[in-house]
Amino acid sequence: MLLFAPEMNIKKRLLDSARMARAIRRMAIEIVEKNRGTDDLMIVGIRSRGVPIGERIAKEIEQMEGLPVPFGIIDITLYRDDLTTIAPQPVVKPTKLPEPIDDKVVVLVDDVLYTGRTVRAALDALIDFGRPKAVMLAVLVDRGHRELPIHADVIGKTVPTDAEEVIKVKLEETDGEDEVLIMEK
């Protein structure tokens, strides 16, 4: 979740377009290596910015391996643990999975791993659709400060941050350009 106060300043540019592209390509390679191929693989992007990143990873894998990888979208709004404290609530959008997840290796994809609560919600949502053989987590940026025992299997960029800082991920598909910024008050 990204909330920006107007007085936030750019502290550092973490990734530009070329470095982001390389990070995503490397993440795709790591996923295929860890899975020893593309058998049973399914990439699932967490709304909203996990979706374009997941799509790019799926495309990279397809180019590398010459086989399409099923890609799905998961909406975690209804599984959040902060529904009673956030406002206004995010609009609920459909979850779209291309095929049953039973016995698949599902790779959840998100932009930033922070407290781990989004991933917790995504796991709960995923389990309601079936019983995957395994679930992996791939994130573009791991910024630390976990509040739950969750870790990523594949990481684009690890960066230590202060709690006051905000990681802003911009993507061509949603923001018109590719870059990752560290913002601070």
Partner: protein, 314 residues
């Protein structure tokens, strides 16, 4: 009492009349997300976990009550339903007393159907719970209008500029009142037809067109919405006979031939087959009557979620 901060301005859904076009669009957009939940292997999400919803049905209902109950269960709310018969209402308890006693059990939301217009508002003004109107007399039935709009938008992709003809017993219908409010707010074109004895005078003031015959209403319509002849609300018939009603305002396959290609035939149910609608039409290729029922669950989930799903603790 909690502070309401959802995107809907009111803590209650008492009717379509107080809603803005933006609020209507939000409910319909949210319902799209919820429709998918009903198609999952596990048809349940934890959004309203730990919340208590009381369904207070003081008037007969199957479809609406069942639809609300399913919607509540799919959102993981705790639910409790009761009707007038078999409750303390039969012993002479007033609505306010019933409600205050229920309130002492701390429900988060109350869904109410009542024969008297304004009964939901009376509760809304007195109780901190969110009140959802599931039909009050001939006043409003907001979730029905929302599910009708959802069904139209799903098929045609829009509401603006859509020609909707509503035919039948206009006077006694809360469905039509909610639909007129909703469709005119969303800039659809509404045409009404029905027996003059069941057509309120000056209804044109609500921004609708009134025509005299069924054929005029069918011509050019994208959507034909047939209303139930509400025998129980009339005391005595406002027209000579059911046979004559069918001959004048019943939707038959022959009459439907005058309609546009791909016209949608809707009915809020329960149908009187052979009175306002022929079986061949109700079960025919243009009928979306059962889709309306399916969509009703998604729309009610959206309303429950928007009113109860996200609010700040005090």
């Amino acid at each position: 009492m909690r502070t309401q901060t959802s995107a809907l301005r009111s803590k209650d859904l008492l009717g379509i009349e107080p809603l803005s076009p933006e609020e209507i669009t939000l409910i319909l957009d949210t319902a799209e997300g919820f429709k998918e939940v009903s198609e999952r292997p596990v048809k349940k999400v934890p959004a309203l976990r730990g919340q208590l919803v009381i369904n207070l049905f003081m008037e007969a209902s199957t479809r609406t009550r069942v639809s609300f109950e399913i919607a509540e269960k799919r959102l993981s709310a705790d639910t409790l339903s009761f009707s007038a018969s078999g409750s303390a209402v039969e012993k002479g308890e007033t609505l306010i007393d019933t409600a205050q006693n229920l309130m002492a059990m701390a429900p988060d939301m109350i869904v109410i159907r009542h024969k008297h217009p304004g009964a939901p508002k009376m509760l809304a003004d007195r109780l901190p719970a969110s009140i959802i109107n599931a039909g009050d007399g001939a006043h409003e039935h907001p979730t029905q209008a929302l599910l009708d709009a959802f069904t139209i938008r799903e098929k045609l992709g829009r509401l603006q500029g859509v020609n909707v003809s509503i035919i039948g017993d206009i006077s006694h219908s809360r469905v039509v009142r909610s639909n007129i409010h909703l469709l005119t707010k969303m800039k659809a074109n509404v045409t009404l037809a029905g027996p003059p004895s069941l057509m309120p005078v000056q209804i044109e003031r609500m921004g609708v067109r009134v025509v005299n015959s069924l054929n005029e209403a069918i011509e050019g319509a994208d959507v034909i919405m047939m209303l139930r002849v509400q025998l129980e609300r009339q005391g005595k018939l406002s027209f000579p006979s059911l046979r004559e009603y069918y001959n004048t305002f019943g939707l038959t396959p022959e009459r439907l031939r005058r309609a546009k290609e791909g016209v949608m035939v809707m009915h809020p149910g329960p149908m009187n087959r052979g009175v306002e609608i022929a079986s061949d039409v109700a079960d025919g290729p243009y009928s979306v009557i059962l889709e309306q029922v399916t969509n009703g669950v998604a729309v009610r989930m959206a309303v429950l979620y928007l009113l109860g799903g996200a609010h700040m603790a005090e």
